[in-house]
Amino acid sequence: MNERTDSIVLHFIAQYLMAPFILLFGFYVLVFGESGPGGGFQAGAIVGSALVLMRLTEGMEQSRRFLSSRGLLLIACAGVGIYAGVGLLALFAGQPFLDYSYVPNGWVNAFAEREHTSRALGVLGIEIGVFLAVAATLTLIFDYLMERLSDA
């Protein structure tokens, strides 16, 4: 499983049929989480499964050149940082921690033809943080399990 397998059917199905739709569905679940079933945790699990699929079919070497374990760890930490940062920015705007009413929302209000969109925007910000942390952590766990497997 560490080398790239030579089955052209597997590559075609995984690369051009499955992974794009899994990624698209993952981002849809992330963005749609505001008004329907979904959210950062679910989207992170879906996109993480697409990354694991690429690591299974393309081989660990090639996938790691695209996104290394160290990069995954950085992305996971950045996700938590984004979440905490969105919360901390509220403190600088004079609001309580994690109170998103400070987010500027003029153009979104005009676009959505609705009021009170600043909290929804803040929620989208923290969902992106959760999404990055979950997707990167799932792939990271798979990476380290595979590394131990290739040792034996």
């Binding site: 996700g79 905490a84 969109t117």
Partner: protein, 92 residues
């Protein structure tokens, strides 16, 4: 020793079964969980948060602290797996 463990388990199970008799019924509108803050969330989430999805509103806005903690837990789990499984250089 195994017999003692079994006895403790049976005793604990008995305590739990006995205590579960005092829990409110499923879907009881007068249960404490359904009369405290849930009605407020259901009635005001649309106006206060501006999101149609009440679940996301509660998860990410009303209970933002809790979700921040969950995210940190996930990151901690990943780092713990990395520490357990990381390949150390072998001493020859």
């Amino acid at each position: 020793m195994r017999l003692l463990g079994l006895l403790v388990l049976v005793l604990l199970a008995g305590v739990f079964v006995h205590a579960s008799g005092d829990l409110p019924d499923r879907g009881d509108p007068n249960a404490p969980a359904n009369v405290h803050v849930s009605p407020h969330y259901l009635e005001n989430a649309g106006d206060e948060v501006g999101m149609p999805n009440v679940v996301s509103a509660v998860l990410a806005d009303y209970r933002g602290y809790d979700t921040l903690g969950e995210t940190v837990v996930i990151l901690t789990a990943g780092i713990a797996v990395a520490f357990v499984l990381i390949r150390r250089p072998r001493r020859q």
